[in-house]
């Protein structure tokens, strides 16, 4: 079965608190654990990958892309987005501190591509990043989700 390539509002959290970078990944990924898209094992794999490969997952100023390899710990492909009330440092020279965490979990090397394309299109626009970072209400979150799913 192909994955429904849409972001769910349940996977978006605004202005949440995280103690540090590990906590930021855990907090941002929690909705995907709650929905049984991923297990805690995947969350640990994301953290281990940063420990092993370094904070390269901070792919733009303030933006971390938490992800690990597709594995049995991913039950269904999914994405989650969290903005942080208090930015945290990942140890990335260029792009710290991080206030926006995107979690990517895929059952295969390709299953996430359709939705990733939509999220990237959204993130490409500096004005969208500003809207996302400033958003605080569920109404704003829904607008952002609609915009991402609409592919513009």
């Amino acid at each position: 079965m192909a994955t429904n390539p849409n972001l769910s509002i349940d996977q978006v959290q605004l202005k949440v608190h995280a103690d540090d970078w590990e906590d930021a990944i855990k907090v941002a990924a929690q909705p995907l654990v709650d929905s049984d898209n991923i297990t805690d094992g995947y969350v640990n794999a994301m953290i281990q990958s940063v420990k092993k490969l370094g904070p390269y997952i901070v792919i733009a100023p303030g933006l971390a892309l938490g992800h690990a390899r597709p594995s049995a710990d991913v039950h269904r492909t999914g994405f989650a987005i969290a903005t942080l009330r208090d930015p945290v440092k990942f140890g990335n020279k260029d792009n710290d501190p991080v206030d926006l965490v995107v979690i990517l979990a895929s059952v295969s090397d390709t299953d996430h591509l359709a939705l990733l394309q939509k999220i990237v299109a959204f993130l490409n626009e500096p004005s969208n990043l500003k809207v996302l970072r400033n958003a605080t209400t569920s109404v704003e979150a829904q607008k952002i989700v609609n915009q991402i799913n609409g592919g513009n």
Binding site: S49, G54, I59, H67
Partner: protein, 94 residues
């Protein structure tokens, strides 16, 4: 021309880089450019004209690949990617 985006795992940041680079070269009308993604461990089995990666991973690149490599600090800003990519592509076309 072949461009390869390199990341730690080959499924996340390198895929984002690939999407943006494809969009840039398509806007520029360059139809002879192909873009692939790999994880750093596979670089020796993936010949390319240009490699694209992050600063953290660049430090772990085999020395002989570094001259062909562009370091990006922002994978979502197409203007920034273009500013790094265009001079490198022009160099190759001389």
């Amino acid at each position: 021309m072949k461009i390869i985006a390199v990341c730690g795992l080959g499924v996340g940041s390198s895929v984002i880089a690939k999407m943006n680079i494809e969009s840039i070269v398509s806007d520029e009308g360059k139809d002879d450019v192909t873009v692939d993604t790999i994880d750093l461990g596979s670089i020796r089995s993936a010949p390319a004209d240009i490699y694209v990666t992050t600063r953290e991973l660049f430090d772990n690149f085999p020395e002989e690949y570094k001259a062909k490599t562009i370091v990006l600090t922002n994978f979502v800003d197409k203007n920034d990617i273009k500013a790094h990519l265009d001079p490198k592509m022009a160099e190759l076309q001389k």
